[in-house]
Amino acid sequence: MFNFKKDTDTGRSALNKSSRSSSDVTKRASVSIGGKTMIGSTVVIEGNITSAEDLIIEGKVSGTISAAGHEVTVGQAGQLNANISAKIVRIEGKVEGDISGGEKVIISKTGNVLGNIDAPRVTLEDGAKFKGSIAMDPDEKPAIKAVPNGKSDLFPGAATSDKTNAS
C-alpha cells in the first residue's frame, strides 16, 4: 500500500515535471535533441544564425544561417528568407535565398526553393519546386564556403540585428 502510493506520487510528480518541460520547450527559441538543435514552428528569427551543431528549422528565419561542417534541415513547416551555408543542406520547406553546400544539397519533394545553389552535388527529388541556378562540380573537394557578404542581396530589406520572437 505504502509502496503503491509512493509509486503513484512519483508517477504524478514525473507527469507534472514532464508537462512543465513540454510547456517550457514551446516557449524556447530552440531545443537541442540528440546533438541537433531544433528551431520550432512558432519561432521567428531575424538575423544571423551561426551553429556548431546540426540544425533543424521548422520556424521562420530571415537573415543568414551558417553551420560549417554540419547539416541544416529546413523542415516542412520551415520558411526562410535566408542564405544558408553548411556541409549538408536538406530542404523540405520553403526557402528564398542562396544555398551553399560543402558536400551536398538535397531538395525533397515538398521543398520549394527560389535562389541559387552551389554545391559539389545537388539532388532534386521529384515534386520539388526550384527556380534559380544550380552550380555543381562533382570533382570539387567538399568544403564549406562562407555566406557571401553575410547576406543575400535577394533580401535587401532583411534585418541585420539578431532578434528572436517566439509567438
Binding site: 527560389l114 521529384d126 520539388a128 519546386k129 526550384f130 527556380k131 544550380i134 555543381m136 535577394l154
Partner: protein, 222 residues
C-alpha cells in the same frame, strides 16, 4: 550572379501524382548538343522549363551551372497583349531570363517552348537571348510536324544524352501555336535548325545551332 525573381516562387509544377505518369522518350538529337563542348570548362545550361529531378541528376556528372527559368509560366507569355511593343517584350524576356552579364550559354534546352509562343513572341525571346549566345551555343527543341499537330501539356527533363523524360504539367493547357519547321526557321534569326528528326509520336525534335551571317541575311525579314 544569376538572380531569380523574388516575387515569383517556383509555381506551377508537376505534382507527385503526375510524376508517376512520367514517360521516357528516345532522342536522336539531344546528344548532339554536347558535341562542341570544351573539356574542363564549366558547362552553362539554360533550361526554359521546370526544374526536373532527372535533368539535375543527369548534369550532376558535369562541372556545370544550370539555369532554370520556367518561362512557360510568365504572365506576358500566357496573357498575350497586342498593345505591347517588340522592345518591351524583349525587355520582359530579358528580365525573366535574368542571366548574368558575360555569361555564354553552351546548351539551351528549349523543349517545346516555341509552340506556346506566336511568331512575335519567338522573335522577342530570340533577341533577348542573343547576348548570351556564343558561336558554339547549341539548342534542343521539340515541335509539331505541322500546324495540325497538337502537343501534350508536358514538362521535360534530360535523363541521358539520348533519353528524355516527359511528365504531365498540373497547370492548364495554354494556347498552342504549332509552327512548321519552315516558319520556325524564319523566326529563329541567328539560330538555324541544323537537324530535325521525326519522333515516334509524330512530334519533331530539333538540333538548333548558331548560323553564320551569310545564312542569316538570306532569311526573310518580317
Amino acid at each position: 550572379m544569376f538572380r531569380a525573381k523574388v516575387e515569383k516562387v517556383a509555381g506551377a509544377t508537376a505534382t507527385s501524382q503526375d510524376y508517376a505518369l512520367c514517360t521516357m522518350l528516345h532522342s536522336n538529337l539531344a546528344a548532339a548538343t554536347f558535341d562542341s563542348l570544351q573539356p574542363d570548362k564549366q558547362l552553362i545550361v539554360l533550361d526554359v522549363g521546370l526544374a526536373m529531378a532527372a535533368t539535375v541528376d543527369f548534369f550532376s556528372q558535369f562541372k556545370c551551372k544550370l539555369l532554370f527559368v520556367d518561362l512557360y509560366a510568365e504572365d506576358f507569355v500566357t496573357d498575350i497583349s497586342e498593345d505591347i511593343s517588340h522592345q518591351e517584350l524583349v525587355s520582359l524576356f530579358r528580365q525573366s531570363l535574368n542571366i548574368p552579364d558575360n555569361c555564354t550559354i553552351d546548351i539551351c534546352l528549349f523543349w517545346d517552348f516555341f509552340n506556346y509562343l506566336d511568331g512575335t513572341l519567338i522573335k522577342a525571346f530570340i533577341e533577348a537571348l542573343q547576348p548570351y549566345v556564343g558561336e558554339h551555343t547549341r539548342g534542343f527543341g521539340l515541335g509539331a510536324l505541322n500546324s495540325r499537330c497538337q502537343l501534350p501539356n508536358s514538362c521535360y527533363g534530360l535523363m541521358a544524352k539520348d533519353t528524355l523524360t516527359q511528365c504531365p504539367r498540373s497547370d492548364e493547357q495554354r494556347p498552342v501555336f504549332p509552327h512548321s519547321q519552315r516558319d520556325l526557321k524564319d523566326y529563329l534569326d541567328y539560330f538555324e535548325i541544323n537537324k530535325s528528326r521525326l519522333m515516334s509520336d509524330g512530334r519533331v525534335e530539333y538540333l538548333i545551332t548558331r548560323c553564320n551571317d551569310s545564312v542569316r541575311v538570306k532569311k526573310p525579314i518580317f
